[in-house]
């Protein structure tokens, strides 16, 4: 089978060796946890705690009122010290509850109870996933139960378990596959049962041979399971590109994977699903890779949601004085942070610390139209033209040139010899195009 055949893409320096042999370590509870009320794409859930409330581990603190939304749970037992605005890793300030742990770490009633999963039907599993507050843990944070509820006429026949982890530096999914292969496979099997899918493909980039080996041997006796070793090519882990690599199906523009008959779930989400369905443990912790040349001891950390980046740094032996950039997520698509005050969310796959001498600087020089971005773009757009239109504020033209199809993977800016802030231009253009579409009704 030929995998990894999508056009475009780049080969950044992966730097995975910093942390890919480090076993996942559980971080002790920090002094306080800052839990954002909004941790999913879609409708923000509504906070139901106030200052002074005592909460127990796993208790819902923000309720999902809409369908495309996911509840947020208290990551430990303790008191809500305050509710205030905090810098959210996605790039804005957002309201969050500050929870002071009482040290008991006591579960709320109904949580942490083992359940026999064999007898559960699709709807029961879906309900448990929804109640557990599961979202896509690769970084997009799209509520998982929504993906599990395709409209009647859309038939899904392949489940792709995304373990590509194409982002440089990050090793959280890699370690999870090596250490928790059985749980991931169980979780994936639960997803497959919900949708009645026969074929499950675990896709892993070839630069993780140990993960491929482990997943292969553990899933060998499972019917319908296979492990696909895909080429090392960024952005292999982007949904649309991965689907094409594995199935040669193209997701139509503006469509979802389900339009191509495919469901993609991150390995972290599969693990979380197993925890939620089997043990009734909602999503209150995740594996975060803390890495980069700026951090003393790169680690893969099992951290509670709400642990601040400062706590992570302390657990990893601190950062060097010439650290110039803090990135929530990977360096290709992650968001640069202005302080260590942000906290781990459900979508925080890693925190990367780069030294000043490693950071590329963007300049606003004119495009020389070399076309390298056109070759690199995995969505087959023309980033050169798009950026020139955006610069001239000709946002109608950016729409005409399909700026909305941009997945912001960053390949264009990575290769641009003029070092133009291309993705920044496109994010602005997308916002303007959407704003206009909204106004038009």
């Amino acid at each position: 089978m030929a995998y990894g055949a999508f056009a475009g893409g780049v080969h950044p320096a992966y730097n995975k060796e910093l942390a890919d042999r480090r076993a996942i370590e559980e971080m002790p509870l920090p002094e306080q946890l800052v839990v954002y009320f909004t941790q999913n794409l879609g409708a923000p859930p509504e906070p139901i705690v106030k200052k002074g409330d005592t909460v127990r581990k796993g208790q819902v603190i923000a309720e999902a009122k809409a369908f495309v939304s996911a509840p947020v749970h208290a990551p430990t037992s303790g008191t809500v010290k305050s509710i205030d605005m905090f810098p959210h890793p996605v790039g804005t300030d957002m309201p969050a509850a500050v929870i002071e742990p009482d040290g008991e770490d006591a579960w709320a009633e109904g949580c942490n109870v083992e359940r026999n999963t064999d007898s559960l039907g699709p709807d029961e599993i879906k309900k448990l996933v929804q109640g557990g507050g599961l979202v896509g843990m690769g970084g997009a944070t799209f509520p998982t139960h929504v993906k599990l509820s395709p409209p009647e006429h859309k038939k899904i026949n392949i489940l792709i378990v995304n373990g590509a982890e194409c982002e440089p530096f990050l090793t959280a999914d890699h370690r999870l596959m090596v250490e928790r292969a059985d749980e991931i496979i169980e979780g994936a099997a639960l997803f497959a049962r919900v949708l009645g899918v026969e074929r499950v493909v675990v896709s892993i980039e070839k630069n993780k041979p140990d993960a491929i080996e482990t997943m292969r041997s553990r899933s060998a006796d499972r019917k319908g399971f296979s492990v696909a070793a895909v080429n090392v090519l960024y952005p292999q882990g982007a949904e649309k590109q991965l689907i094409y690599s594995i199935t040669h199906r193209k997701v139509p523009t503006g469509g979802l994977p389900m339009d191509a008959g495919v469901l993609v779930q991150n390995v972290g989400t599969c693990f979380a699903a197993y925890e939620a369905v089997r043990f009734g443990r909602p999503l209150i912790q995740r594996v975060v890779t803390v890495t980069g040349s700026g951090v003393a001891e790169p680690k893969n950390i099992l951290a509670r949601i709400g642990a601040s980046f400062e706590d992570l740094v302390r657990f990893c032996g601190g950062i060097s004085g010439d650290t110039g950039k803090v990135i929530s997520g990977g360096p290709m698509m992650g968001v640069a942070q202005y302080s260590l005050g942000a906290s781990v969310t459900k979508g925080t796959s890693g925190v990367v610390f780069l030294r000043r001498d490693e950071i590329p600087q963007y300049v606003n020089d004119p495009c020389i139209r070399c076309g390298k971005c056109v070759t690199a773009c995995p969505m087959r757009l023309n980033p050169s033209a798009l950026s020139i239109f955006a610069e001239r504020m000709a946002f109608d033209k950016t729409d005409e040139f399909n700026v909305l199809d941009c997945i912001e993977c960053g390949c264009c800016a990575y290769v641009c010899p003029s070092r133009r802030p291309l993705v920044h231009h496109f994010r602005r253009a997308k916002a303007e195009v959407r704003k206009k579409a909204k106004r038009a009704g």
């Binding site: 810098p87 790039g91 202005y338 302080s339 963007y362 606003n364 920044h424």
Partner: protein, 275 residues
């Protein structure tokens, strides 16, 4: 050589006559008023009137489909002139309004949270944590307003602030909508006392962020005549309906209030050098 010169000159003559004749023969009848009105309009084609360009507005006015004062840029003087052309009596003229950037927190007095690197444009910069200024109401200084102003009335100070030149400003309000922070306001040209801050943050926060921000101490509110300065969510706001004596500026502990007219003296910025 001579032949060439004669031939070319002849050609030019014939072409010239041809053009002149064609202009006569195919002349389009235009209401002379339209041309006169267009002459009177500022001619910047800024679109502030809602029509595409000054000539279109002139046509509408001549047809009576738009008022003689439809040009917000020209103000009273132009309205008077247009009214004369149309043979209409024009009363009033309203107050001339100019744009004012309600922030005085330049790079030396306002704290920055991070080094920004990206598209040189305020709206784009604001997409990353709202911009590099610690104060979320501060001028980002990336010349979005200056770039969009059709009259070149906004200049960027080297210290990183946008400043409107009230003499050049025509009140077209284009910049007001362009500022992602929404801190450009239209104020009467005549008025001299302004509070150059837009921060609704509480006093303690403002102090931490900026040395010239309004901390909401209300001293100016008490000093000024009743209702001339009002508090809006931790921010003192000038009520331009009422007169404010220049003395009020003296009571502000943060030097947020300026009493020199809209043309704000720029001593501090002059020494600023490269920002």
């Amino acid at each position: 050589m001579l032949t060439a010169i004669i031939a070319l000159a002849g050609l030019a003559l014939i072409a010239g006559f041809g053009l002149a004749l064609a202009a006569r023969a195919f002349a389009v009848k235009v209401d002379p008023k339209v041309e006169e009105i267009e002459e009177a309009l500022p001619g910047a084609n800024c679109g502030a009137c809602g029509f595409p360009g000054c000539s279109e507005l002139a046509r509408r006015i001549a047809e009576g489909k738009a008022g003689v004062d439809a040009c917000p840029v020209g103000g009273g003087a132009v309205a008077q002139q247009v009214a004369r052309i149309m043979g209409i009596e024009y009363e009033g003229g309203g107050v001339r309004k100019v744009a004012l950037v309600l922030c005085n927190g330049d790079d030396q007095v306002a704290r920055k949270r991070f080094f920004y690197n990206g598209v040189y444009d305020c709206t784009s910069a604001a997409m990353l944590f709202g911009g590099d200024k610690a104060c979320s109401y501060g001028c980002l200084g990336l010349r979005t307003c200056a770039g969009i102003c059709p009259f070149g009335a906004i200049e960027m100070l080297p210290s990183g602030l946008a400043r409107v030149d009230p003499e050049k400003c025509t009140g077209c309000t284009t910049c007001v909508g362009a500022c992602p922070k929404g801190i450009i306001k239209m104020v009467p040209y005549e008025r001299t006392v302004h509070i150059l801050c837009s921060s609704h943050d509480k006093g303690g926060k403002v102090r931490r962020y900026c040395q010239v921000g309004c901390i909401g101490c209300q001293r100016c509110v008490k000093e000024a005549p009743e209702g001339a300065i009002v508090m809006e969510d931790n921010l003192a706001v000038v009520n331009y309906e009422a007169e404010i004596p220049a003395l009020v500026a003296g009571v502000c502990p943060m030097n947020t209030i300026h009493a020199g007219g809209a043309d704000i003296p720029d001593e501090r910025h002059a020494v600023g050098g490269e920002g």
